[in-house]
Symmetry: C2
Subunit: 389 residues, 2 copies
DNA sequence: CTGAAAGCGCTTACAG
DNA sequence: CTGAAAGCGCTTACAG
């Protein structure tokens, strides 16, 4: 039913397409291009359409000033030949510059998590900076709402072409997102999610599901000893939604799936800020618990506080599960005090956030809205091969 | 001690560098460039050195025909200004083409593993094909040595600029590597390792360590029930080195680390090819074992054979651990027949292999020789977020 | 051993 | 509404 024509050289492309467009060939004619196919250029399209390259360019970039007639003709040819612009030549010629801003917590000694997303962003930048992309970092203090407000104001004032945002303070972050929306600055959320309808993407972990994974590991190891303590190290009651989600996932698993049936779950909220009281609170919770504790699940990276306590008190019959490959946590994992760490691919979070903005802002491609990264299970045995992920 | 000068515009760069090179500035002068720094071009270097761009290019690419004197002068300036070539412009101007060949098993229904490395290679290609890179695939039959020989001969005859090689048949693969060496075709090994001294890199998993991870999971779940069966599904006795390594890692863990002390380990080799006998062999091994079996470790992706057997015979008190997210394995993981799967990041293996060749062949950068990928632990709970890794 | 010129494919003013 | 020309930074013959 169709004539098929394999084309190799520009001359042939020109001939067939020209003929096709001027009605010399059957409407069932199909142009089959192959591997050793010479690239179609704007010039070729212009030649076939009988216009100048400038006009094709105007059509390609929707910058108007083209009659509807020629526009349609050109779009037809572009479509027929499956024209793919040469993004190298494009980037080289258009001296467009894009500024991406990243608003994330500063990595501090003792809170090293955020150095990995930063590394991911920097690694990504190295791959795409040729395309005229530059990066501005706005660091804030993880514990200081005011520093977040200050840095977010700075970032927005600089009017970047895109923003990577760690919504550590969820309410304030929502305002930032709204603000960006008003100024047409696309936002990608990293690590935690908030106000999704106004963001182009979220890159991070499925918190609910990661709680289920933690519970599975707990359950698998402690089939018959159901005394479990959940510890939340929090900044403010009820504000860090992803921690609540993790706890919910953990509880869901035990409510529905556990092989041991529903065990006794206890929980404890400890302030993440006041340091001196942590130990006493843990001591009370563990020693005077109404149930003998055989497993502890910490819903974030502060699991090393518990590990330190267990080690000090020579308690080694408690299974301990927490989050993230902080240096302290890694050390306790190696020693066997922590049994499992759930990791969130922090480096990839950074990398993917940047790439998502690049695809959206520069290449103008569709991007996936929910980019859930794998929930990595880390043990002493596979830790070393995860160092840079 | 040093004069510091922040430069912004080309004019200043020219002035300072020119002055510096002609002795008008102190030797302690340091050129500090910053973010909003205009790119240094070949033209700038040529201007300062008082030569033409062509000469600078000759120096940059070591293509001789330059007097030692000017060569040194130009190299000095290049170094001083930390010149970074614009790889976009370079790729656009030099119409160089690079052909990468990939020699990997064909993904078949029932053996879907290799479709993920392929996907990784294809995804990577899409990022770099602008740079004149094309890909030729040479698929062979995982079970057929002759098809490997045939396809490898084809691949080499086509003289690619680089080869991605899955050394499924280790001895034959060594010959291929030697052959490539003679013709200056760089080789990246994917998934399994062989003949490393002649390859530029290996991309895959640390097999010994992955066996340790499997053992850890087994041990953690079965502290008191030490009857464990190791099952090897093999093509030929002693030929698939990475399977032996996995078993070795598993045994090492139990010999050294196990909390239960050294448990009773039994093992079984089953031919991967003759299908009808598998079930009977498993039945004999499990039912008439000298120890009651409470855990089975399968050293590769054929774990679904065991899962099928366990399910058919309604045995559900045996912990089952194996490798790879084949469709069959995923189904048994979801049902709870398989407890854990170790995954090897098959897609990333493909992606990294291609990128390694790109960096080596096109960008002429140093590449890391041993690229061990994370040893992913997959459970029913985190399976869905690993689909495409 | 060195330089001048043309070209890679696309974009950007500018002239009509 | 359309076209001709110059230029992005680098490379490739070619002439001397």
């Amino acid at each position: 039913m169709c004539e098929i024509c394999r084309v190799r050289t520009r001359k042939y492309i020109f001939f067939f397409t020209f003929a096709y467009y001027h009605g010399f060939l059957s409407k069932h004619f199909v142009l089959v291009t192959n591997n050793s196919f010479p690239k179609i250029r704007i010039k070729d399209i212009a030649g076939i359409a009988g216009v100048s390259p400038g006009t094709v360019d105007r059509v390609l970039h929707n910058r108007g000033e083209v009659s509807e007639n020629t526009r349609k003709r050109i779009l037809g040819i572009i479509h027929e030949l499956n024209y793919q612009p040469d993004i190298l030549a494009s980037a080289l010629a258009s001296k467009k510059r894009y500024r991406i801003a990243a608003l994330i917590p500063e990595a501090k000694p003792g809170s090293t998590f955020w150095k990995y997303p930063l590394k991911g962003i920097e690694d990504g930048l190295r791959e795409i900076n040729h395309f005229g992309i530059s990066l501005d970092m706005y660091y804030f203090d993880y514990f200081d709402r005011n520093s977040f407000l200050k840095q977010s104001a700075r970032a927005i004032k600089d009017k970047p072409n895109g923003l990577i945002l760690a919504p550590v303070f969820s309410e304030e972050a929502s305002l930032v997102v709204k603000n960006c929306n008003d100024q047409d600055i696309p936002v990608v959320l990293i690590n935690a999610s908030v106000c999704m309808e106004n963001c182009i993407a979220f890159v991070g972990q499925d918190s609910l599901q990661s709680g289920m994974v933690a519970a599975k590991l707990m359950d698998y190891g402690l089939r018959d000893n159901p005394g479990i303590l959940i510890v939340n190290f929090i900044r403010e009651e009820g504000k860090q939604l992803h921690l609540l989600k993790r706890e919910e996932g953990f509880r869901n698993y035990y409510a529905k799936t556990s092989q041991a049936g529903c065990p006794v779950l206890d929980y404890l909220n400890v302030s993440d800020i006041i340091d001196r009281k942590k130990e006493k609170i843990l001591k009370d919770a563990i020693f005077s618990s109404r149930i003998p504790i055989s497993g502890i699940f910490v819903t974030n990276s502060r699991v090393f506080h518990v590990a330190r306590f267990l080690e000090k008190n020579s308690i080694n019959n408690i299974t301990l599960i927490g989050y993230d490959l902080l240096e302290e946590n890694k050390a306790y994992l190696r020693k066997g005090v922590i049994d499992f760490l759930i990791s969130q691919k922090p480096r990839e979070q950074g990398l993917k956030s940047l790439m998502t903005l690049y695809h959206h802002v520069v290449l103008k491609k569709e991007v996936e809205k929910n980019q859930y990264l794998p929930i990595d299970i880390i043990t002493k045995e596979n830790l070393e091969h995860y160092s840079f992920t």
